[in-house]
C-alpha cells in the first residue's frame, strides 16, 4: 500500500452551530487525479480549503505525505497546533488554484509567478524570473509575461495562476472550480494545461463541474452531498449504471451538459 499524498480522517468543519463537513474520510493517491463533485453548497470548497490550510478544521486530521497539517490529534482527541515554521514547510508542498484566479493586480504575469521565489525563497531576481518564465512557457504564455492581469483574458489569468503555483514545485495541486468563472470558449485552454499536468504525473485534487474532464482525466471521483462523502470510485463505477439516486439527481439538475454525454 502506498502512502496517500493527502489523507483526510474524520474531518469535521463547523461554522458556529452548523456543520458543513460531517466527518470526511478521504485518501488522495499520489500521481493521480482525484475529482470532487457534488451540488453547490455541499462542502467541496470547504474540504479543499482545509487541505490547503486556508480553513482550520473543527476536528479531525489531515496528513500530507504522512505528516500532520495544521494540527496533530492524539488518540484521546487532544488537538495540538503544529509550529508555524514546520506547518509552512508542509503547506509549501501544496499548490492552490482558485475559481477567481486571485492574481495580484499590481504585478505583471511574470511578477505574479516570480514573487514568492523572490520574497519567500530569496532567489535573485534573475534566477526567479528565469524560473518563472519557464513556467509561463509551460502554460503557453511567454508572450504575455509583461502583461498585467487586467490586460489578460480569464483563461490567460487562470493559466498564470497555475504557473504561479507550479513555480514553487509543489507535490500536490488543488483546483477549486478552475474554469467556473470562464466563458465556455476559454475553459478548454485551462483544461488542456491541467491535462498536461496530469500526464506528467502530478498529484491533483480537482473540484469541477466539468464532468467530461472528471470522467476522462480523473482516476477517482468522490461525490460529496450535504457535507458527507456519499461514495468514491473510478469514473466507470461512479458514472456507470446503476447510479446512486443522489448522483442521478445531481447530474440531472446541475449538469445537463456533462450528463448528456455520459447517458
Amino acid at each position: 500500500m502506498t502512502l496517500p499524498a493527502i489523507a483526510v480522517r474524520n474531518l469535521v468543519k463547523r461554522y458556529g452551530d452548523t456543520a458543513v463537513l460531517h466527518g470526511i474520510d478521504l485518501d488522495i493517491p499520489p500521481g493521480q487525479v482525484s475529482c470532487l463533485i457534488g451540488p453547490s453548497g455541499s462542502g467541496k470548497s470547504t474540504l479543499l480549503r482545509c487541505m490547503a490550510f486556508l480553513e482550520e478544521a473543527t476536528s479531525g486530521v489531515i496528513t500530507v505525505d504522512g505528516e500532520d497539517l495544521g494540527f496533530s490529534e492524539s488518540p484521546s482527541g487532544q488537538r495540538e497546533r503544529i509550529p508555524p515554521a514546520t506547518n509552512r514547510a508542509i503547506r509549501s508542498r501544496i499548490g492552490m488554484v482558485f475559481q477567481q484566479f486571485n492574481l495580484w493586480p499590481h504585478m505583471t504575469a511574470l511578477g505574479n509567478v516570480s514573487e514568492a521565489l523572490r520574497t519567500v525563497h530569496k532567489m535573485s531576481r534573475t534566477d526567479a524570473e528565469a524560473r518563472a518564465m519557464a513556467q509561463l512557457v509551460k502554460v503557453g504564455l511567454e508572450a504575455r509575461a509583461g502583461h498585467y492581469p487586467a490586460q489578460l483574458s480569464g483563461g490567460q489569468q487562470q493559466r498564470v495562476a497555475i504557473a504561479r503555483a507550479l513555480a514553487l514545485k509543489p507535490k500536490i495541486m488543488l483546483f477549486d472550480e478552475p474554469t467556473s468563472s470562464l466563458d465556455p470558449e476559454l475553459t478548454g485552454e485551462v483544461l488542456n494545461v491541467m491535462r498536461d499536468l496530469a500526464a506528467e504525473g502530478m498529484t491533483m485534487v480537482v473540484v469541477s463541474h466539468e464532468i467530461g474532464f472528471a470522467a476522462t482525466v480523473g482516476s477517482r471521483i468522490s461525490f460529496l452531498d450535504q457535507g458527507r462523502l456519499l461514495f468514491s470510485g473510478p469514473p466507470s463505477e461512479v458514472f456507470g449504471k446503476p447510479r446512486h439516486p443522489r448522483l442521478e439527481q445531481f447530474l440531472d439538475t446541475y449538469l445537463d451538459r456533462g450528463a448528456s454525454m455520459l447517458a
Binding site: 503547506r91 484566479f101 495580484w104 498585467y148 492581469p149
Partner: protein, 222 residues
C-alpha cells in the same frame, strides 16, 4: 467705490507670506493626517477590541463635530489641560487630528476592499503576514484609496482657512486684514476664492494624473 483688486495686490509680500503659511500647513497637515490616519486604520484592523473600540469612538467624535469647534476647543480649551500652544502649532495639530479621522476611514475602506482571495493566494505560496502587508495589501490599497485620499487633501486645503480664527497668519487672515485696512472687503474675498480654487484645481489635476498612471494596476471586479 469701485472694484479694484490692485489695492490688495499692492501688498504682495504679505500675501505671499500668508500663502506660504497656508501651503506649509496644508502639506504638513495632509502628510501628518494621512500618516496618523493610516496608523489608526492599522490599529483598528489588527489591534483587537482594546485598541479598536477607543480608536473607533475617537474617529466618530471627530467626524461628527465641526472643525471650527474642534480648533476652538484645542486652542482655547487646551491650556486647561496643560496644552497651551501657539496658533501655528495648534493649527497644525488640529488639522492633523481632523485629517487623521477621515484618512483612517479611507484606509479602513481600502483594507476592506482588497479581495480576501488575493491574500489567501499569497498565504498559499508561503508569504509571511508582514510580507503580505508590504507586497500585496499596501500596493493594492494605494490604487484603491488614491481618489478618496486626493479628495480629502482638497478638503483639508479649504479647511486651512478656518485656522484664521485662532490668528494663524495664513492666507485668509492676511488677505482679509488687508481688505479691512483698505476698505476692500469684496476684492479680498474674491482674491481668496480665486487662490483656493486654483490650488484645488492643481491638486486635482495632479491626483488625476497619478490615478491614470496607476489605473492599469487596478483589478477588474469579477
Amino acid at each position: 467705490m469701485s472694484f479694484d483688486v490692485n489695492v490688495i495686490l499692492a501688498q504682495l509680500p504679505a500675501i505671499l507670506s500668508g500663502a506660504g503659511v497656508t501651503l506649509l500647513l496644508w502639506i504638513a497637515g495632509t502628510i501628518g493626517g494621512a500618516t496618523v490616519g493610516f496608523l489608526v486604520a492599522v490599529g483598528r484592523r489588527y489591534g483587537g477590541r482594546i485598541l479598536g473600540w477607543p480608536l473607533g469612538l475617537a474617529v466618530e467624535v471627530l467626524r461628527g463635530t465641526p472643525f471650527l469647534i474642534q480648533i476652538f476647543l484645542l486652542y482655547y480649551g487646551g491650556p486647561f489641560i496643560g496644552l497651551a500652544l501657539d496658533p501655528v502649532p495648534a493649527g497644525l495639530l488640529g488639522l492633523t487630528i481632523y485629517g487623521a479621522a477621515y484618512f483612517s476611514e479611507i484606509f479602513r475602506a481600502g483594507f476592506a476592499a482588497v479581495p480576501r482571495g488575493h491574500i489567501e493566494a499569497a498565504e498559499c505560496v508561503g508569504l509571511s503576514p508582514s510580507q503580505i502587508v508590504r507586497r500585496i495589501l499596501l500596493p493594492e490599497m494605494t490604487v484603491l484609496v488614491l481618489p478618496p485620499a486626493i479628495n480629502m487633501a482638497v478638503i483639508l486645503m479649504k479647511e486651512t482657512a478656518i485656522l484664521s480664527i485662532i490668528t494663524v497668519p495664513e492666507l485668509t487672515l492676511t488677505v482679509s486684514a488687508i481688505g479691512s485696512q483698505q476698505y476692500a472687503f469684496v476684492e479680498s474675498l474674491f482674491l481668496l476664492a480665486v487662490f483656493y480654487w486654483v490650488l484645488v484645481e492643481v491638486t486635482d489635476k495632479l491626483g488625476r494624473y497619478a490615478e491614470h498612471r496607476l489605473s492599469r494596476y487596478r483589478f477588474s471586479p469579477t
